[in-house]
Structures are given as C-alpha cells and as structure tokens.
C-alpha cells in the first residue's frame, strides 16, 4: 500500500482542521463577531444543530460505541453529546469543524461519566497496561481481512480510559500525536508512549483471536 495515500478518503483530524470546510455552510458564514452569540432556540442555531445531527449523528454514535463498549451507553452518550452541543452551538463559528467539535464534547462527556459512575475505572483494576511489552508486530501477524470484531471491542474495553482516549483519537479521529497532545494537554512523549502501548495491546489481542497464518519467522533477535 502506498504510504502517501489518503486513508479511506476520509477527512483526518489534521486535514479536517487545516483543510477547507466541507459541505454546505451552516447558516451564516464563519467570522461572526465574538460578542454576538445566538440563543440556542434561535432559528439559526436550530438550523445549525439540525444539520450537525443529520451530518454527524452516525459518526458520533460509532465513536460513542467504541468508547463505551455498549449500545445502550452509546445511545445515551450520543444524546448527551448533542444536548451539550445545543447549549453551545452558538460558539461554533466554523461549520467545517463541527465533527471535530462534537467529538471533543463526546470525549469530555464520556470522561465525566466515567468519573461520576466509576471513580476507579474497572479496567485499571483488572488490567495493567504497563504489563504490555513494547514489541514490534510479527510479520503477517494476522489476516487483515478478517479482524475479529468482538475481540477488537474487548481489547478496547480492557484499556484504561486515558489509553483508550488516545488510541481512539488516533484511529477514529485520525489525529496526529501532536494534535492529541495539544487537545488533551499532555506532553508528546506521554502520548507516544500511551499510543504505542495501547496499539501493542490491541495487536496482541487481535493476533490471539485470529487464526494464525502459516508463515515462517523471517528474522529473530
């Protein structure tokens, strides 16, 4: 696969933030004066919100499901995200960043929910991320056309929240590690370390769940 190809033609976190806004503008153009907020029940805000729901509810739900691991919690999280967005929709000046804005709200809603309902994340008690060795993947580790969906979600659910957030920002939002560091207010080294360990854990779990290919080791240390 060419390394400079785009990923599924989707907008990445960075491309989404640097590229031109896609799709039709929502309501009035960007650049509204800072001291000119709109009420959430103004026709413009309602129109903006309706478009955000139409354009992004599916992606928000998918992200919520991957974060929460439960279809019920995902629906709840999605509803809460849009309700929170409704209160702040007047602050969204650039319609092109609506998806990223909703994802930010979703992440914070999820983290807040974790803190409220699970003061000590269960995953942290059962799973020690530090026990995951920093190992390179083996050649032809598993059949990439046949990833075990359940194993992937189980592996995600096993991750402590701070690791899950980083790995989903990488995979789902396609954020660079720099963007992740900036958005979460973390040092870049911390992001790299969490990302590598979380990805290593997913690879190990997926490899364990997949039927192994019959390949001879190419080199060993």
């Amino acid at each position: 696969m060419a390394d400079n190809a785009t990923v599924d033609g989707r907008r990445s976190c960075e491309a989404g933030s640097r590229g031109k806004p896609q799709g039709k503008p929502l309501g009035k153009p960007i650049g509204r004066a800072v001291d000119e907020p709109q009420s959430a029940d103004s026709p413009e805000s309602r129109q903006r919100l309706a478009k955000l729901v139409a354009d992004h509810h599916a992606d928000v739900y998918r992200y919520a499901l991957r974060l929460s691991g439960s279809v019920y919690d995902a629906e709840d999280l999605t509803q809460q995200t849009f309700l929170a967005a409704q209160r702040k929709v007047h602050q969204l000046r650039d319609p092109g960043s609506g998806r990223s804005w909703l994802f930010t709200i979703l992440r914070h809603t999820y983290v807040k929910g974790c803190a409220r309902h699970r003061p000590v994340p269960a995953a942290s008690l059962e799973f020690d991320i530090d026990a995951v060795p920093a190992e390179a993947p083996e050649a032809d580790l598993f059949d990439l056309t046949d990833i075990d969906r359940d194993a992937l979600q189980v592996a995600l659910d096993e991750l402590p929240t701070e690791f899950k957030l980083v790995v989903l920002m990488f995979y789902f939002e396609e954020c660079s590690y720099r963007d992740i560091a900036l958005r979460l207010g973390l040092p870049m080294g911390t992001v790299m370390s969490r990302l590598s360990r979380a990805k290593g854990h997913l690879r190990n779990r997926l490899a364990a769940a997949a039927p192994r290919r019959e390949v001879a080791p190419l080199a060993t240390s």
Partner: protein
C-alpha cells in the same frame, strides 16, 4: 510474543533487538501521512532509509492500522437515531433547558421579548434558576483542566518544532481580523500563516511564522482566550508578553492575553531574541 520480524535479514542491524523508542515513534505515525518527516522523528526516518527491516515494519504497522481503522467504523447505527436525537433537542428547547449562559449574561443575541420575559419571571425565580444552573454546571459539565502559563508555553513550544518554520502551507485569503497580532508584537514580515481549528488547547485561532527585524524567526499563536465546552481553562495569565518568559535550550517563549485572545510567542534563541519581537510600549502595531 516471539520476536519474529518482517523483512529479510540483509542489513547488519536486522539481527539487533527492536529499539523501543523507535517503535514508539513508528506507532505514532498515521498510515498514509508523512508524520515520520517531522523533526522529532529524525531517528525513525534514518531507520527507514537505512534498514529494510524498518521499511517492512512500517508497512506491517500501517496495514494493521488501516485494518483497525476500517473495522472501528463498522458499526450499525440504530435506525431512527437522528430523529430521536432531534426530538430530544426540540423538547429541550421547548422546556427552555438549552438557553446558553453566555447569551443570557450578555443579553446579545436574545430578543428583547425574551429578555423581558426573563425579567418578568421575577427575582426569586432568577435566583432559583441561577442556583439550579450552578448545580447542573457543577455536576454535569465536563471537567476542565486549568493550565498555567508554563504548561501553555510548553504545549506551544512542542507544537512548534522549529520556531518560525511551523507553517507548511499558508491558508487562503487573509487571517481573520479577530486573530490579529495584538498590540505587543512587532516583526519585519509574516513568512506564513494558517488557521487553527482546535489544535492548540481545543481553541480556534491563527498561527503565524514571523521574521524579525534581524534574521530572527518566531512562531506566534493567537487563539481564543475562552475555549469551547470542555476545553482546558486558562486563567490568571499575564497581560504583557514580557511578564513571563520561559527559556529552554534553543528557544524562548511568552504567553499573555488581552481578555479575548490568548497569545503564545515562541522564538528561536534566548530571551533577548524574544524581546526583539515585542513592542514594549504596547503601541498599536
């Protein structure tokens, strides 16, 4: 896991154990992007150039990443979800639960009729509403982190890589006026600029690469002082760039705010190089 590695053992390094630091860098690279060309990834780029083993690893990790990315999006969305969300939003508006605090506080954006209705609700009701809003905000609002000047400067410096050489491509048109330099910055010219959409502290803004009156280079971030929902809070920042200067090996940085905008200046060099970009008097540029 056995250490079976992809690639042929044709290079002398191919028999050595994998360097965990390089593996972390590799895992930080997104498939299909040129993340490995960033300055802090120089060691990884060298490994790609020198070793077929690392080239093979790169392909392997990118393939797995692509497969995982695709699989993560394979989620069936419940039918009727959009309609159900919209219904809930309409109900929230009808019950008045969604009025933003900022609009109520400033009075801007609300009709005079709406304001009059609020007044007619009476002071007792307003007090109850304020208390309720406070409780809701306290318990339900996403947690925010309050970042101090040093943390902000560290984040901006980390984002910069090399001050004055951050912006790869200038955005189209002119920078939005609301993200202008402010009164304290002086520079010979703007080398490049681009819009920020949440990359720094989840805030919108503009980043400029500047050339000083000598040959100094700087990067200036101008973002909203107040971020969106859940963004890290920034309180108690200096009002002038020279109040808090952070110097590290090779760069100096300053952060300040004018109340509506947050400025972070990162300069290659020491504090005196930074001061070369600062108009001490604060005269309008």
């Amino acid at each position: 896991m056995d250490n079976a590695m992809p690639g042929n053992a044709s290079h002398p390094d191919d028999t050595l154990p994998i360097d965990p630091a390089l593996l972390q860098q590799l895992d930080a690279c997104r498939p299909g992007q040129r993340d490995h060309e960033l300055p802090e990834m120089a060691d990884l780029a060298k490994a790609f150039a020198a070793s077929p083993r690392w080239t093979a690893l790169r392909r392997e990790v990118a393939s797995i990443d692509r497969a995982v990315m695709a699989e993560l999006r394979e989620v069936d969305v419940p039918p009727g979800l959009a309609a159900s969300i919209q219904t809930q939003l309409d109900e929230a508006v009808a019950s008045g639960k969604s009025a933003p605090a900022t609009a109520a506080a400033s009075g801007a954006g609300s009709s005079s009729v709406a304001l009059r209705r609020r007044w007619l609700a009476g002071s007792a009701a307003a007090l109850v509403a304020c208390a309720a809003t406070g409780l809701v905000a306290w318990f339900a609002w996403p947690a925010t982190v309050d970042l101090g000047p040093e943390a902000i400067m560290n984040l901006a410096r980390a984002a910069c890589g090399r001050p004055g050489q951050m912006v790869v491509r200038t955005s189209e048109g002119s920078p939005p006026a609301r993200f202008g330099w402010g009164e304290f910055i002086t520079a010979r010219r703007v080398l490049a600029w681009r819009q920020l959409r949440g990359e720094l502290l989840d805030r919108d803004g503009v980043v400029y690469d500047l050339l000083g009156h000598g040959q100094e280079r700087a990067t200036l971030f101008v973002v909203e002082a107040r971020g969106p929902l859940g963004a890290p809070a920034v309180e108690h920042l200096p009002r002038r760039p020279t109040e808090t200067i952070l110097t590290t090996a090779g760069s100096a940085s300053a952060v300040w705010t004018d109340g509506t905008r947050l400025f972070v200046l990162v300069v290659a060099g020491d504090a005196s190089a930074l001061r070369a970009f600062v108009r001490e008097s604060g005269a309008i540029a």
